[in-house]
Amino acid sequence: MTALLQFIDVSFSYEGRSVLEDVSFSVEQGESGALIGPNGIGKTTLLRLAAGVLACSHGTISLAGRRLDTLRRGDAARLVALVPQRFEVPFDFTVQQIVEQGRTPYLSLFAGFKRRDRQAVEHALELADVTSLRNRIFNELSGGERQRVKIALGLAQEPRLLLLDEPTQNLDLGRQLELLDCIRALNDEGVTILAAMHDLQLIPGTFSSVLLLEPDREVRKGHPQEILQSHILERAFDCPPRRHPKLVGENQIALEKIL
């Protein structure tokens, strides 16, 4: 396996405040990684750096063996897609119209959609299981449906790496499970995934690895079973004594029954 995404000593500061410091890790081709860490540690910033929306202050970010800062934005957008957490659409676009915007990196200013673009949009709608919603107005959809449409939008870029920012947030259990299925199905299709996850219980069984961001420590990466241990999480999330999450205990078993 080769590294598809690689961070080497990446730092990022915003308005003089350091958000990320000397972060190094890599995500292999075909992996599905869950990015976890306490609030405000910089998970979203890390994803935005990986997507090239932000530029790092120090260090190197490589995508498929090429330095991200040497890639043209449009070219980078063919390799990596970021599905944002917040996404507001001021006008009544249909699902199809929204997903079509994912083809922007492939279109010149004057040329219209070609067959290849239409196929990519169809495929994205199918993979995210929103084909039946295509003529619905995005703003009228439920939270779970919107989340899947956002994933389809990212997939229309035909990226090798799909970045998801808290994809299960604000979804009820049923919709969360649907979304996890979607993530697994995408990974089976060969899409490499890195998702910032808030709900740690949803990780085992869906993600092949966990990346833990901790204050003042190196990124810890490993199999979910390795990382999701009480003593590790207790320290990383600064849990009060004896109230740490029982992750590899009963909760996971309960969830596995549902899955």
């Binding site: 929306v53 897609a81 944002p84 001021p90 915007q101 922007t104 299981d129 619905r136 299925d181």
Partner: protein
């Protein structure tokens, strides 16, 4: 197990999903054709209306035998009516498209060249040009036109800067910034009117600019403005596709390779150019850029590529009709067309504001 859930998803969402729709492309082409026919019809009708009524047959006869006509009717037709009707068609198209561009730029359906002060900036700029450089002319462009453009761009830049908070432009900051800037601009222009009266310097054109009156332009002026607006509209087509992407947010657009700042600048410059051209023909005409794109969106949906030509033609039709009404309803005196559009547009603006009231919070 996965397939089970996938099937469930299908079963769950199959029922009310696909609302039957008229194929969008067919609807678009039909609308466009219908509007073109309507525009031609409205122009012919409007040219015939006025103190001297000219029948449709005479109008068409004169129009298609351009050089052979020489009677009194054809003088009225070619020197007064036709230039004015064409001017109102141009102004309508320009203001409507500028409204569409600004709404896309601000991601906000309340933006309009009048509301955000772009028209006011153009009028003040033109007024200053008229005062300071009355004799300047370059390739048929007077200082007035150039200064109108400068005024419009400067105002847009100011409102854009004032109203943007963290990459978003909330309704409330946009309207407040637009209101404050427009008020300052229109009173500054009014100050020029006062100076004009005091010193008996020039024409009364400034006063009419403030209320929005489409004057009878000279043919050369019409040609130059048509070129400016036509050029601007052609430049709008690649921008329209970008507006669709920008509608999903600056961050998203940046992610898929759109050069957001440059695109914003291009939209501001193009929108200001066509607004300035419109103001140089008809002064400050309110709310056209608000009503027309909104109506077009109701029929065609929010795709800017399709909205652009439809908005341009509908804007022409709207303003030709409004201006015809303005010059005939109280004949022989004339109602400023800006007053008419304010009467129609004001309540419409309030209706829109009420509909979007959930966005008031910052």
């Amino acid at each position: 197990m996965e397939t089970e859930i996938t099937e469930k998803i299908h079963a769950g969402s199959a029922a009310p999903v696909d609302r039957p729709r008229f194929p969008a492309r067919v609807l678009f082409i039909l609308t466009l054709l219908l509007l073109l026919v309507a525009l031609a019809f409205v122009i012919v009708l409007s040219v015939g209306m006025g103190a001297t009524k000219i029948g449709v047959r005479e109008v068409l006869g004169s129009l298609f035998n351009w050089h052979q006509s020489g009677g009194a009717d054809s003088v009225i037709l070619f020197e007064i009516r036709l230039p004015r009707v064409l001017a109102s068609a141009l102004v309508g198209a320009a203001l409507s498209v500028a409204g569409l561009l600004f709404q896309g730029l601000f991601r906000n359906p309340m933006a309009d060249p009048y509301v955000i002060g772009s028209s006011g900036g153009a009028a003040l700029g033109a007024g200053i040009g008229l005062f300071l450089l009355p004799r300047f002319s370059f390739l048929g462009f007077s200082a007035t036109a150039a200064m109108a453009f400068v005024g419009s761009v400067a105002t847009m830049a100011l409102v854009y800067w004032l109203a943007r908070i963290g990459g978003r432009v909330p309704v409330v900051t946009l309207l407040l910034a637009g209101f404050a800037v427009s008020t300052m601009l229109s009173y500054s222009t009014y100050f020029l009117v006062v100076l004009d009266d005091n010193f008996g310097l020039r024409t009364r054109v400034l006063a009419s600019w403030l209320t929005g009156v489409i004057a009878v332009p000279r043919w050369t002026q019409l040609e130059v403005t048509a070129l400016m607006i036509g050029g601007g509209l052609i430049f709008c087509f690649p921008l329209a596709r970008r507006l669709n992407t920008l509608a999903l947010g600056d961050d998203y657009a940046r992610q898929v390779g759109v050069q957001v700042e440059k695109t914003h600048l291009a939209i501001i410059l193009t929108g200001s150019l066509i607004t300035a051209a419109a103001v140089s023909l008809g002064g400050v005409i309110s709310f056209v850029g608000l009503i027309v794109p909104h109506m077009a969106r109701l029929v065609l949906g929010p795709d800017h590529v399709r909205l652009l030509p439809v908005t341009a033609i509908s804007g022409s039709i709207f303003l030709v009709l409004a201006d015809t009404l303005a010059r005939t309803m109280l004949a022989p005196s004339e109602v400023p067309v800006g007053l008419l559009t304010a009467f129609i547009g004001g309540p419409f603006f309030l209706y829109l504001l009420r509909r979007t009231r959930r966005e008031y919070a910052l």
